[in-house]
């Protein structure tokens, strides 16, 4: 941490910028074609929209009114993912429901709109819908079943990276930010990066450069003087409830709007989503007004949402491709674009942007096709048929999985450090040694991203302390760094709690602050 900034040069065949699911997917796709890559992210895996969404694996039905092309893409891709990555997916099924006050004609047409997209959509009686989901409002007047599912984007990204690392030694570097490109004779010669932990400079020399920066793709393209990436930013805010309220994904059957979807995720449910145009990506965070509108709107569909206990809120930014007419951001195409930048006089740079979690694999495939062609590699894409192999150190993100492994191992010496989510110390040890992106100065946020630690009702306020103590015992820390990491972790978790602290969470917060600030004095730590 105190070492002097040093210069380092790394050579690789392809540099991929952006550790979302798309970047991770490109890394794996290229590795299966025998191409060696380096994936970098200024923060960590899924730090942007890949982690800031519902975890919905779209059947495509949400898009049948506005964007038939996207609907078909979603239908195809979700089918593929259910085959190649079942360990990251729960086939929950989905419901579309209309409640009193919603447009009856819209609701009536839904079934016939799904047909041309090839989406299996079955009308069911409202009593059947309430039998499937007892918390649904009694003011329902129309209901359909669709093959929606849920996906754990963290597990998915980790497995993509782990597989690529295994296949051909491709590698991932977290907290490595692109600063500039050196361009010469129509090519990028090098990318100048900074390690945000050590502040050291890293020069990456690659044959091909891929911009998979998600919402930041436009900024990254500008660094290479490419003016052909035009994005709009639409911020969405979501809430996580303490309990899982439904077994299915429940969608409101009306044109897309606030608070119109509730997606289960393991032991919790995620309610969303607002849509707000933003210009500045650095200040994106949930607001009280967005929370209130999601709860109010969601309550029409599921009245229990009014009194549910919420443990977290978060915001993500949808990068939308700019088109001429975009009155409502939710109506803008959710398709993706691959820009080869030949019009910008660069022959070894491309940008993949737009799209959505469900179509990440296809986005990776198209990008990899372009890279392979440029490198005269004729191996075809394999990711639509090759299953994503399991990797032990990546398994800790799955809700409810930790207790299973812990119970099975039956080791009395293996203590539970996160009591809400039952994460044992063996999981922490495995993550800091073996997980993709593991490193010496790995902090609590990085550990939490690779596990369920801190995801329960206490949001890390207790396990943060226990894990830190464990890491001191293990010799991971030798000075105040552990306390600073702990404080930073609590500050980071708080961002997601700030707008939903009422009811039992207010009591939880009072206890946490009394412990962290009243007793331990983390508010008075001197910075390093």
């Amino acid at each position: 941490m105190t070492e002097k900034p040093t210069e380092q040069t790394i050579e690789t065949e392809v540099l991929i910028i952006g550790g979302g699911v798309t970047g991770a997917g490109i890394m794996r796709d290229l590795s299966l074609r025998g191409i060696q890559t380096l994936l970098i992210d200024k923060k960590d895996l899924c730090a942007g929209a890949s982690g800031g969404n519902h975890g919905l694996l779209h059947s495509g039905s949400r898009y049948v009114f506005s964007d038939l092309h996207s609907a078909i893409e979603c239908r195809r891709e979700s089918t593929i993912l259910k085959h190649i990555a079942p360990q990251c997916i729960e086939e929950t099924g989905g419901l579309f429901v209309a409640v009193a006050g919603d447009d009856p004609e819209f609701a009536e047409n839904f079934g016939s709109k799904c047909e041309p997209a090839g989406i299996e959509c079955t009308p069911i009686s409202t009593s059947k819908a309430r039998e499937l989901e007892p918390l649904l409002s009694d003011r329902l007047f129309k209901a359909y079943r669709v093959p929606d599912a849920t996906v754990d984007p963290f597990h998915l990204a980790l497995l993509n990276v782990a597989h690529a690392e295994m296949v051909n030694g491709s590698s991932f570097r977290p907290h490595t930010e692109i600063l500039s490109f050196i361009c010469k004779n129509g090519k990028i010669e090098a990318a100048i990066c900074r390690d945000n932990r050590t502040q050291s400079t890293i020069t990456v020399r690659a044959g091909q450069y891929v911009n998979a920066g998600g919402a930041w793709a436009m900024d990254i393209a500008h660094m290479a003087n490419c003016k052909d990436v035009n994005l709009l930013y639409s911020k969405g805010t979501l809430l996580v409830s303490h309990d899982r309220l439904t077994t299915h994904v429940v969608n409101r059957l009306r044109p897309p709007g606030d608070g119109d979807i509730l997606v289960p995720g393991g032991t919790v449910s995620v309610l969303g989503t607002t849509s707000l145009r933003v210009d500045d990506l650095t200040t994106v965070k949930p607001t009280v007004a967005e929370i209130d509108i999601n709860v109010r709107e969601g309550t029409a569909m599921i009245p229990a949402l009014a009194t549910a206990r919420y443990i977290r809120a978060f915001s993500g930014v949808r990068p939308l491709l700019q088109s001429a007419d975009n009155a409502d951001d939710r109506e803008v195409t959710r398709g993706f674009a691959l820009l080869d930048h030949s019009s910008q006089n660069l022959s070894n740079f491309c940008t993949i942007t737009g799209g959505k979690l469900t179509t990440y694999r296809l986005m990776a495939e198209k990008t990899s096709d372009l890279i392979a062609e440029r490198m005269h590699n004729s191996k075809p894409c394999q990711t639509h048929t090759t299953s994503l192999p399991d990797e032990e150190s990546c398994r800790w993100t799955e809700p409810g999985a930790s207790p299973k492994y812990w119970y099975r191992a039956n080791d009395p010496e293996d203590m539970i450090l996160c009591e809400c989510e039952m994460v044992p110390q063996s999981a922490i040890d495995e993550i800091i040694t073996d997980a993709p992106g593991a490193e010496d100065e790995m902090n609590l946020e990085a550990i939490a991203l690779r596990s369920r630690a801190g995801k329960g009702p206490c949001q890390g306020s207790f396990c943060g302390i226990r894990i830190t103590s464990h890491l001191y015992d293990r010799g991971h820390y030798h000075d105040k760094t552990g306390l600073i990491h702990m404080r930073d972790f609590f500050n980071e978790r708080f961002k997601g709690m700030r707008t939903i602290i009422w009811g039992q969470q207010a009591a939880q917060m009072e206890l946490a602050e009394a412990l962290h600030c009243g007793l331990l004095g983390l508010n008075n730590l001197e910075d390093d």
Binding site: F462, R466, F490, F494, A506, A507, E513, G518, N524
Partner: protein
């Protein structure tokens, strides 16, 4: 099971079983007021045993205050609404003396309130300012200030208490500090808990076994620090005997809550209050409170049936969100028992600052109920809700006990004041 209605009468009903509630009962006992104390055992098991009067000052709560009495003077000029500013310093001092004196008589000795704050150890290896501490923790503070060689000892299987963490964080300020890990006698496998260890140390045989291990772990060093596990009911005796057995000086450091020093206080109160003539119903929440001109009636029930308590006067010491004295909903903050008006920020957006550890603290922590000069809660018109209703503790508005490190100060001082006013009312 036959349900039987039970009925109690008292001159004073104290609602709340946190530090403020227990302090109020002790002060009432000292004034010979017939008292009944009712209400959930709130956050007392979460206390560390340290009794803070005032440790930091607004607006940035940064530097620790060395002299809390001088700190109170500064607070009086900068923040006169603070409950501690509405009580004479001599009364605050008397309140601390009476409170710690009572604890000492009952077997848990405390340091008496001095002129300055002590810097005491936390389980993270940081230091915090406090006014009074349990006698079992005092050696640690003196050893640190004298920079004497010391070994912090932790136990295999005890989570959240790492002697390497404490030593790593204090090494710059205390070069003579070392650390080691040992096994607790007869608990070598799996997870162990401070409460279980403390109860085990009530048994002489366990003390002898542990003493042998401690001597080995201390080596040449004469002072050792342990997590707070030295007995549950007579910590002073346990510590003294451990010192005799080992020939070492021994002190305790609080563990993560719920920690043994908090449980000690709770169990001691629960055991001794009934013996001293206080009607104590600590595990039940008061469902309803009816206040009338000449008296009050409390309604509650347990598994044996309904209970009513009639009292001439009431002290509301129900705490904040953690103990249920205040409730936060999506629409605002309320006081659930009497629906007293709660002073609070204009909207939920203002409850918390953007950054958790923002040095200025969060506005929600200053929310609470208003009282008049006699510590009687005010109604919507700004008049006392009733002549016989008083309030004490952190339910009061205009204080941030967490950042100000004044939780025990607010609890003990306002309880003292409220009981004084109750006595005036009763006569």
């Amino acid at each position: 099971m036959i349900e039987e209605a039970r009925h109690f009468t008292a001159e004073l009903a104290v609602i709340g079983s946190g530090l403020a509630g227990f302090a109020a009962s002790i002060f009432a006992l000292n004034r010979n007021i017939k008292t009944a104390q009712i209400g959930n055992t709130g956050a007392i098991a979460y206390t560390t045993g340290y009794l803070d009067l005032l440790g930091s000052l607004a607006p940035d709560y940064a530097a620790s205050i060395e002299d809390p009495w001088q700190g109170l003077e500064l607070l009086r000029s900068s923040y006169p609404e603070h409950p501690l500013c509405r009580i004479p310093q001599t009364d605050i001092h008397t309140a601390f003396e009476q409170f710690t004196g009572f604890l000492g008589e009952c077997g848990i000795s405390y340091s008496s309130p001095g002129k300055t704050n002590a810097r005491v150890l936390t389980p993270a290896g940081t230091l915090k300012p406090t006014l009074c501490m349990p006698a079992t923790m005092q050696i640690g503070t003196t050893a640190f200030s004298r920079q004497e060689p010391c070994v912090i000892i932790d136990f295999k299987g005890l989570k959240g208490f790492s002697s390497s963490q404490i030593a790593a964080n204090l090494k710059d300020q205390w070069p003579e500090l070392r650390n080691t890990t040992i096994e607790f006698p007869d608990m070598s496998l799996g997870e162990i808990y401070p409460e279980v260890m403390a109860r085990a140390l009530e048994v002489p045989e366990t003390r002898e076994k542990l003493a042998k291990i401690l001597v080995g772990a201390a080596g040449e060093t004469k002072i050792i620090g342990l997590p707070a596990i030295l007995g549950m009911h007579s910590p002073d005796l346990v510590r003294k005997e451990m010192e005799q057995l080992t020939g070492l000086e021994i002190f305790e450091i609080p563990t993560m809550p719920p920690s043994v020093p908090g449980i000690r206080l709770r169990e001691m109160f629960e055991q001794l209050f009934p013996q001293k003539g206080i009607t104590l119903i600590p595990q039940q929440k008061v469902d309803k409170l009816k206040i009338e001109q000449d008296g009050a009636r409390l309604f509650l029930s347990d598994s044996f049936g309904p209970i009513t308590v009639d009292a001439k006067s009431v002290i509301l010491a129900t705490g904040r969100f953690l103990s249920g004295g205040l409730e936060a909903s999506i629409d605002g903050i309320t006081e659930p028992l009497l629906n007293l008006p709660v002073t609070q920020p204009g909207s939920r957006e203002e409850w918390y600052r953007e950054k958790y550890t923002d040095r200025r603290g969060h506005e929600i922590n200053k929310a609470g109920i208003e009282v008049d000069a006699s510590f009687r809660p005010l109604d919507n018109n700004g008049a006392p809700y009733s002549n016989n209703l008083f309030a004490a503790g952190v339910i009061l508005a205009h204080q941030d006990w967490i950042r100000g490190r004044c939780g025990a100060g607010v609890a003990i001082a306002t309880a003292y004041k409220a009981v004084e006013e109750v006595e005036k009312y009763l006569s």
